[in-house]
């Protein structure tokens, strides 16, 4: 389903050395490693936000090196959440549904379902800057999974969350795995929150990356 074959890239003084990783369909992989080793770079390369210099990226058994970001169909939760500042929480969650032309009623129902699951009901009309860090993270999580992507990539989903919210995210992922069973890649330095539901851990070695 996802395969990185000797994928490497260089951005300024940062170099991601040739990295190989294979995640089968419906598996959940946790990527761990020290800060600055390239965990986020791997996630961004997967989503197409970083172009690959060397190696091959396979998505759904197809070479994806040059597939545009919008056509990769990956639900992505970025580390910095990057919510759309001009939109309400509801519009943020529903953005993917809108651009994929979901009917209004279906869209409203999906937003409502996610708001229930991630306890966002009271916040739907707010804008991102009126939310705390944890609330923003939950909104970004809802936005990433709204369109039922078959591949989900989560970059530090547990950062800025209290323990209750972390449990909420873990339960949500567990629920997703039992229902739609997407392929999940989680970049985290808190793997203890996801160990129970993950299939394997890939540790990015600090010696293999060169950061200034």
């Amino acid at each position: 389903m996802i395969e990185l074959i000797d994928v490497g890239l260089q951005r300024g003084s940062f170099r991601l050395p040739a990295t190989s990783l294979k995640i089968d369909a419906r598996q959940c992989c946790v990527i761990t490693g020290a800060a600055g080793t390239g965990k986020t770079t791997i996630a961004e390369a997967l989503c197409g936000l970083q172009s690959i210099d060397t190696g091959t990226l396979l998505l759904r058994d197809q070479v994806a090196n040059n597939i545009p970001v919008a056509q990769r169909g990956i639900g992505y939760l970025p580390q910095d959440v990057a919510l759309f500042p001009n939109m309400s929480v509801s519009a943020n969650i529903g953005f993917g549904l809108s651009v994929n032309r979901w009917p209004k009623e279906k869209k409203r129902a999906r937003i409502s379902e996610l708001a229930d699951q991630l306890q966002l009901n009271e916040l739907l009309q707010r804008v991102p800057r009126q939310l705390s860090g944890g609330q923003q993270k939950r909104v970004a999580m809802a936005r990433a999974i709204a369109i039922f992507p078959d591949i989900i990539c989560l970059d530090e989903p547990f950062v800025s969350l209290d323990d209750d919210s972390k449990t909420l995210i873990t339960d949500l992922l567990s629920d997703l795995r039992s229902k739609s069973a997407p392929t999940i890649l989680v970049v985290t330095h808190q793997p203890q929150w996801i160990t129970e539901i993950s299939d394997f851990e890939y540790r990015v070695q600090s010696r293999s990356a060169n950061t200034a």
């Binding site: 989503c47 936000l49 919008a70 639900g75 970025p78 759309f84 651009v99 994929n100 609330q135």
Partner: protein, 277 residues
């Protein structure tokens, strides 16, 4: 240690004094400039009234408003498009275009005017002018105003696009949005303040543009006469009170637009209830 009596407090007071003096002096100069027009116009109220009643001045007023609105719309469209292109895409020559876009801001206005005139009248492009009648006509005013306005829009919009748009645009694309959807639904709404600022600065520059307009469009009464040209013509004919009256008219219109811009650019979300928990 009591900070209000220490050496740092004295330094703070001196620093504040420098800032306050600068603000007071410059505000006084600006008010004096407006006051000078009021004073001169007030000395010859009949002359002022006669000037403002002239059909040519009223035509110049509407021509100024009309051409500045046209050129602002064009500047906003072209400047925003180029700013988005240069901000989002890396390609051969993009740095050169970036540098080139600043040129109208740094060039003397007269140079822009004479360059436009030579381009349309002394080069092989003369056929274009013969077909579309640009030089020494109303289109010349719009072209001259647009050249500088576009440069200001470009700089304002590019600073905004560079600052925040790249990241959230990428995230929007991961959700399946096309580039147009990203631009229209994410980039532009997130750049609302910059758009309003761009409109204000492009319009203000267009409304007050004189040098390039005078050279490229001429100063034909009732045909290519915009308000800055009217001031020039009144001064040339020795009617200082009339020139002051037109200046006051321009100040009044600029003040109204400035207030409208300030009112429009207020963020509708700032007064909403709800704070981060």
């Amino acid at each position: 240690m009591n900070r209000s009596n220490g050496p740092s407090a004295n330094s703070d007071r001196r620093f504040d004094a420098v800032l306050i003096v600068a603000a007071v002096v410059f505000s006084t100069v600006l008010l004096a400039l407006i006051g000078a027009n009021v004073w001169v116009a007030g000395l010859d109220r009949i002359g002022v009234w006669e000037t403002l009643k002239q059909t040519e001045i009223q035509q110049a007023l509407w021509l100024s408003i009309g051409t500045s609105v046209y050129s602002t719309v064009i500047s906003l469209w072209v400047g925003t498009a180029i700013a988005h292109l240069i901000s989002q895409r890396q390609f051969w020559g993009c740095r050169f275009i970036d540098l080139l876009m600043d040129l109208p801001v740094f060039l003397p206005p007269l140079v822009i005017g004479i360059s436009l005139l030579i381009l349309f009248r002394q080069t092989p492009l003369v056929w274009f002018d013969e077909w579309f009648h640009i030089a020494f006509a109303v289109p010349a005013i719009i072209v001259a105003q647009t050249i500088v306005g576009t440069a200001f829009v470009y700089r304002t919009m590019k600073a905004t696009f560079d600052q925040h748009a790249g990241r959230i645009e990428g995230i929007a694309e991961t959700l399946g949005a096309s580039r147009w959807q990203v631009f229209s639904r994410i980039t532009l709404p997130a750049s609302k303040q910059a758009i309003v600022a761009s409109i204000a600065i492009a319009w203000a520059r267009a409304f007050g543009e004189f040098g390039p307009v005078l050279v490229f469009a001429g100063s034909f009464r009732g045909r290519t006469e915009v308000l800055p040209v009217s001031i020039y013509l009144e001064l040339n004919s020795g009617n200082v009170a009339g020139a002051a009256a037109i200046s006051l008219l321009m100040i009044l219109i600029a003040a109204i637009v400035l207030l409208l811009v300030r009112f429009t650019s207020r963020d509708r979300f700032t007064s909403r209830a709800g704070s981060p928990r």
